[in-house]
Amino acid sequence: MTTYQTSSLAASLRIQARVIWALVLREIITRYGRHNIGFLWLFVEPMLFTTGIAALWTAIHATHGSGVPIVPFAITGYAGVLLWRNGVGRCADAVEPNKALLFHRNVRVLDFFFARLLLEIVGATASFLLIASGAIFLGLMKFPADLGQMLAGWMLLAWYALGLGLVVGALSERSELMDRIWHPITYLYFPFSGAGYMVSWLPLKWQKYAEYLPTVNLNEMIRGGYFGGAVEVHFDVFYLIKANLILTLLGLAMVADVSRRVEGE
């Protein structure tokens, strides 16, 4: 007879990985179905966005005469916006449609968030890789100067999306208001996010405020990796780690609290 011992940590992690994978596959079929290109939309959709933004910014010379090449500037900025915006956005209202699945003991509220975040992170990363490779191949941008720093910045960005996703996800479960205002917040925040400017372009007195924003630090880190010494960048890795840690711990605590409420229904 089968027994499902859930006592050891390794066994628990195995079960959680299994559940998250099951949720990811379920989510892919639910969202993209089996029609036309199916789950490829996962990264085709962000690619269309980024390509559009790159074209638009090229047309309006959005680098403000700084001499920074516009195509890599747009791609490095906008791909990141898609990661945190979609990742966090998918966490809002992640619980309600999946609530009935909690009847299966091993399925937990936290798994809903992890599954959606994983999907968005993979999608945004794949689309970034594809679009950057394509642009490099076509000669629209050069190969990155410091791939390691770009990669590290991208991973910190994914972590930021995870932490913020848990916080926003938990809040949206507590109050419908959060679910409704999250989208306006992201649109209004976009001009400040650092996707569309470099800190060095700002007047000196504004720079120190911009440096408080994690997304600005992340953008500067990723762009610093791409452009190397060609641009002046402002970022603080320790500040990012601190911010991510705080967001993650806060998010986990809030999700634990929400789980107790949700599972009590």
Partner: protein
């Protein structure tokens, strides 16, 4: 062995906390069939959900030494836009079962035929119930939680379900909630009465009914 120790559970209502379970102690040995009796609102379904792990108790502990099923034939967790097969695959993945092995059984048992590959939202409620029951049987459990004996489909299909559960799996433990006394008498070795948030255990089903019937006066 499944053990519940001092399990308490309350819900928030508009009139303050409503205490449903006030220190439930219960032990289920492998292969045992236990009936749970109690009047409406006594907390029987809450107890079943807590044993299944779908809900967490406020205090107390639950040890599950057996693989415990979800409340049997629960059909609420189907995603309508997914096919029956997709839903089956999901459940198999969650429980670490091989869906390639489970599919032929579910296909055959549920009698859904080609509809297994159609979205669940196109199913009638009877079809859903058949799929839910077949899925519950496709995963191997040591203890089945049965909240009201499932009346699935026509009498022929109903008999088939009873056979699959009570005959083919008669070596498994079962915890059965039912208002139909004949069912409990037919299937259970012993019974408990849940009243005022505590469990009264009886070795004999008839004794349990005596208390239960007295509490209904």
């Amino acid at each position: 062995m499944i053990s519940l120790r001092d399990v308490t559970k309350s819900y928030t209502t508009r009139h303050g906390r409503h205490q449903v379970l006030r220190g439930v102690n219960l032990h289920i040995r492998p292969g045992e069939k236990v009936g749970i009796l109690g009047r409406n609102g006594a907390g029987k379904s809450t107890l079943i959900r807590i044993i299944s792990g779908a809900e967490l108790p406020d205090a107390g502990s639950i040890h599950r030494g057996l693989a415990v099923s979800w409340p049997l034939a629960f059909a609420g967790a189907f995603q309508g836009s997914l096919t029956g097969l997709d839903n089956l695959r999901f459940v198999c993945r969650v429980y670490g079962a091989d869906h390639r092995k489970a599919t032929p059984f579910v296909e055959e048992f549920s009698e859904l035929g080609k509809f297994l590959r159609e979205p669940v939202k196109t199913y009638s409620s009877g079809m859903r119930a058949r799929l839910a029951f077949a899925m519950s049987m496709a995963i191997e459990f040591d203890c089945f939680l049965i909240d009201e004996i499932i009346a699935v489909g026509d009498s022929r299909f109903h008999a088939k379900c009873e056979h699959e559960l009570f005959e083919r799996r008669k070596d498994r433990a079962m915890i059965i909630v039912s208002h139909e006394a004949s069912r409990i008498r037919q299937h259970c070795d012993r019974a408990c009465v849940l009243s005022d948030g505590v469990i009264h255990e009886f070795d004999d089903v008839e004794q349990a009914y005596q208390l239960h019937d007295a509490s209904m006066q």
